[in-house]
């Protein structure tokens, strides 16, 4: 039920966007709960986009993991 999948927004018409789930399948989803632009990624749940994925934060997370794992016992919490 809370399963939600990332998808790329291809085309926006009012509250409805055509999104691509990455497997060539495009679907119409309701985007009235988010502020999104074409080309951005959204998380889709039950036909509604519930958030725009933050690319910068995604990169930051990966970088922090790398840092964290390359050092000895350090908590990520201080850096986060």
């Amino acid at each position: 039920m809370c399963l939600a999948v990332p998808a790329k927004v291809k085309e926006i018409k009012g509250d409805i966007a055509k999104v691509d789930f990455g497997d060539g399948v495009t679907r119409d989803v309701n985007i009235s709960l988010v502020d999104v632009a074409e080309g951005e990624y959204v998380i889709v749940h039950a036909g509604f986009a519930i958030q725009v994925l933050d690319k910068e934060e995604a990169e930051k997370t990966l970088k922090l993991w790398e840092e964290l794992l390359s050092t000895a016992e350090t908590s990520p919490s201080g850096k986060y």
Binding site: C2, L3, N30, F48, L69, P76, S77
Partner: protein, 360 residues
């Protein structure tokens, strides 16, 4: 997303977890977390590190009560069109599931989204009742729909629930010792961090919000282990690419417009204070329970016992694992489920059956 599955990084996290050397039990409240944990074999990695991870009441279809399903079944039998998500139609009521009713000629439809149900009402002109199951992740779609004046022949059998109150109930009951909570990424995408702060303060319990890729879950558990080791009880956010501290403000605003908290029973729990989302008075016209009150009278004084031997109640509180149930993978299988945890793709039993194995 590919980098969130990097096996080298996973190995490093596991090594670090082993190094922490703790004997702890952590609970998560999300079927999608359970799916990641069992599918990628993380549960055995955690066990090797002395960490036990249990699923709590994190499957919306599972925590919806038999009474609520019986309401849907009763209304479908009385000639209404009943529309809902795929999992919910298969949960057994007293004698049958919604899906079984199709064989009796009832009009039960599986929809992908509440909007499909509204379109069905527009197209057919029939009374279409949408069985609205789900937590804060799903409820905004119901709220948005009701705010847009759907047709009069469309109503909602509302079973939406708030997650934080059941976490309070769980910790208050205290019948399972847990040292940390892995919080659900998509519920948190809507509600943000604030609702968890009170839990940490009141029960001194460490919490980490995590995403759903294997590395998200591994990292979330690692962050919890670190907090536990240091004696901290903070709310941390591993899933920053989706969860903002304030949540999804637009979604929270529509929830606030349409719903208000009400005490509600959950499967496996007694009545949980302020855990149900009640439709505000303004939306009573769309409340299937009000509109079809007469049809539901027959259920008023009825009890709905769980199927004999079924341990879903205890599984939903994290007290036992699916394999502790005598029915698991014997009398109860995905093609013949007796309890909701074997029905739902987010149910602990179905996930264990799919990736784990047979009975003990």
């Amino acid at each position: 997303m590919f980098r969130y599955r990097d096996s080298e990084v996973a190995k490093k996290i596991v090594e670090k977890l082993k190094g922490i050397d703790l004997k702890i039990r952590i609970m998560h409240v999300c079927g999608t977390h359970q799916d990641t944990i069992v599918r990628f074999g993380l549960d055995s990695l955690f066990k090797q590190s002395g960490i036990e991870v249990r699923q709590g009441p994190g499957c919306p279809v599972c925590v919806t009560t038999t009474r609520e399903y019986e309401e849907a079944i009763t209304m479908a039998k009385k000639g209404n069109v009943l529309a809902t998500f795929g999992d919910a139609v298969r949960v057994p009521g007293r004698a049958s599931s919604l899906l079984d009713l199709r064989a009796e000629g009832c009009d039960v439809r599986i929809v992908y989204s509440i909007e499909d149900a509204v379109n069905l009402a527009k197209k057919t002109g029939k009374n279409v009742i949408f069985l609205a199951v789900g937590f804060e992740t799903t409820a905004p779609s119901t709220a948005v729909t009701l705010l847009r004046d759907p047709p009069e022949n469309f109503t909602v059998l509302n079973c939406h629930r708030y997650v934080p109150p059941v976490l309070h109930a769980l910790l208050e009951m205290g019948d399972l010792a847990i040292q940390g909570l892995l919080e659900p990424g998509h519920v948190s995408t809507i509600i943000g961090l604030r609702p968890y702060q009170m839990l940490s303060e009141k029960y001194h319990i460490p919490q980490v919000i995590a995403g759903f890729e294997p590395l998200d879950v591994l990292m979330g558990i690692y962050m919890l282990a670190q907090q536990i080791k240091k004696g901290e009880a903070k709310v941390e956010n591993e899933y920053r690419r989706s969860v903002k501290p304030e949540g999804n403000v637009k979604a929270l605003a529509v929830l606030e417009k349409v719903f208000e908290p009400v005490d509600l029973a959950w499967r496996g729990f007694p009545v949980v204070k302020a855990s149900g989302m009640k439709l505000k008075n303004k939306f009573q016209n769309y409340d299937a329970r009000k509109r079809f009150e007469d049809q539901l009278k027959e259920l008023e004084n009825m009890d709905f016992p769980e199927p004999k031997g079924c341990r879903c109640n205890e599984i939903l509180r994290g007290l036992v694992n699916p394999q502790d149930c005598q029915l698991f993978a014997r009398a109860c299988t995905p093609s013949h489920p007796l309890g909701p945890c074997m029905v739902s793709i987010e149910g602990a039993c179905q996930i264990e059956y799919k990736y784990g194995g047979g009975p003990r």
